[in-house]
Symmetry: C2
Subunit: 317 residues, 2 copies
């Protein structure tokens, strides 16, 4: 049917309009005349172009302050990779900037012709990053999830990061078909031994890149808000000293994994300590500062993508 054709030509026009607007520097009035549409439509095309990310902006200039923060963080915590983007004072929790950089990191990793394995954890920034990855055909890559994708109520839910990234690359993908928490430690251990799960874990262990979020362990902990961990479980972990979590694994202020509590029943693949694989955390926000700091101190991650304000707060501790 013609709908798809239309859709396509509309996107073409949008791209054309965006090109004329941003690159050639024309006004929307001029573009409207060129494309033979009303100015209002031209405006719509330009904004469609933006909404569909047909055009992207890249900042070529390494803002000195950010560069400096990044290099200090790199030194202080012995990181293999660190990026600091300018803060957006109006929305300090927006993932806009870091998602862009994460997407870039994924892009350049996935662009390689030699097969690579990318492991993904949780986090809003990770999700947003995946959405921004440039599609590229790489059927020999592998995308693997570090966390179970079955929520508490049994539905295979929350954002299917692995699937989305696989869509964009044609890579084989391995979501982890497990609940986030099992009911007992035994059950968890049994699960870890069954064939398909063990296989996924083996793949994850060979990952070339791990990209994960960092969650703080307070009343607003994402693992609790999303319903993976009950209020009681959360409080127990806090009593045990939990200050943050990566892929669900709670750790204390020194970045040491908590021995008991939900950590005994977690199905997620635990962090390597210290991280050997390139393991990049993407996290911003004042609330996460202690959690991020601890993860860096404990070497749960060896890379960080954050914003200026967060970077400063981490260094100021």
């Amino acid at each position: 049917m013609a709908a798809l054709e239309n859709e396509k030509s509309r996107l073409d026009d949008a791209a054309r309009a965006g090109w004329l607007y941003f690159i050639a520097g024309h006004t929307q009035d001029e573009i409207a005349k060129m494309l033979q549409v009303s100015r209002a439509s031209a405006q719509r095309l330009v904004s469609l172009c933006l909404a569909e990310r047909l055009i992207t902006f890249r900042l070529e200039h390494p803002i000195a302050a950010c560069m400096e923060l990044a290099s200090k963080l790199k030194d202080r915590f012995d990181l293999v990779h660190c990026e600091v983007v300018p803060s957006d004072p109006a929305s300090p929790h927006s993932t806009a900037g870091i998602a862009e950089r994460c997407a870039n990191l994924l892009d350049s990793t996935l662009r390689l012709e030699t097969p690579v394995i990318v492991a993904l954890g949780t986090g809003r920034a990770v999700r947003a990053a995946v959405e921004r990855v440039t599609p590229i055909e790489r059927p020999n890559h592998q995308i693997v999830s570090l966390v179970g994708n079955i929520s508490a109520d049994g539905s295979a839910s929350f954002f299917d990061t692995v699937g989305r990234l696989a869509d964009r690359t044609g890579a084989r993908h391995y979501p982890m078909p497990l609940p986030f928490l099992m009911s007992t430690e035994d059950e968890r251990n049994r699960m870890n031994r069954i064939e398909p799960i063990a296989k996924i874990q083996a793949i994850a262990a060979r990952a070339d890149l791990r990209l994960i979020g960092i969650g703080q362990m307070d009343q607003k902990a994402q693992v609790h808000v999303d319903g993976f961990v009950s209020r009681e479980e959360l409080f127990e972990m806090m009593r045990l000293g939990a200050i943050g979590e990566v892929t669900g694994w709670a750790y204390d202020a020194k970045g040491r994994l908590i021995k008991g509590g939900t950590n005994k029943r977690l199905t997620s693949i635990p962090p390597q300590v210290p991280a050997r694989t390139t393991t990049i955390a993407a996290a911003i926000g004042q609330a996460k500062v202690p959690a991020i700091s601890a993860a860096l101190i404990g070497r749960l991650v060896n890379g960080l993508i954050t914003d200026e304000a967060t970077a400063r707060a981490i260094l100021d501790r």
Copy 2:
């Protein structure tokens, strides 16, 4: 002195403003408040950011029509590389679009770690492209000029493409310290035998990429306008059938190099026929259509970067 410091921090602010404007999507009023300046200054910063190319736009969407034209050209003329950018109906001679793509091509070539040799010819698009190359440290690359850089009046003049590109990469560079035309064939041949020149020619012969412009041979021929070739010389070449030129080498409508005239006295490195090295021409404009077509037919180049209108005109012949 502090001037440089100031300059730097001003650019930082510009980058920051650009980021907030284009990426975070704030209005200039908001940015002004954030950066503690007047709105007018915010506007200035944003436009400075644009002017300095601190931020760049990249069109992710392969505009179907352009893609199709590119692929037809590739097939028809057996090209190894072809790109077609949307035309800007308002300024059909603007190098904006193709310069961007050329810069991109240079970027990706220069990004390689293994030493590469890039040879540059003449042309406004080539010059503009060099200005847009992302600086990257590649001291082991080599940049070599295909044309003499001494103008008719003896000054080492016109735009020093090779030097500029070397500035941006730290690569060794080899401008050709010769006049564009010698006064006799003998003299030219003698020049070709002297040591440093022969060496440059040897390097150019091993180039991994040649990027050149195409000039038409009519009253407005660039070689004439720029004063490299006199009116009489130009007319003589036209009598001999010249329709276009690459790095000064005039050729006829079938793309065959003219045997006599200025070609006997040219110091530029002649095109390979047929091109074996990746040799990309960057050229747009109705006036250049016959010249571009002939160069493609004669296989003086095996790649083309042009715009939609020119591409269409070439295919319609």
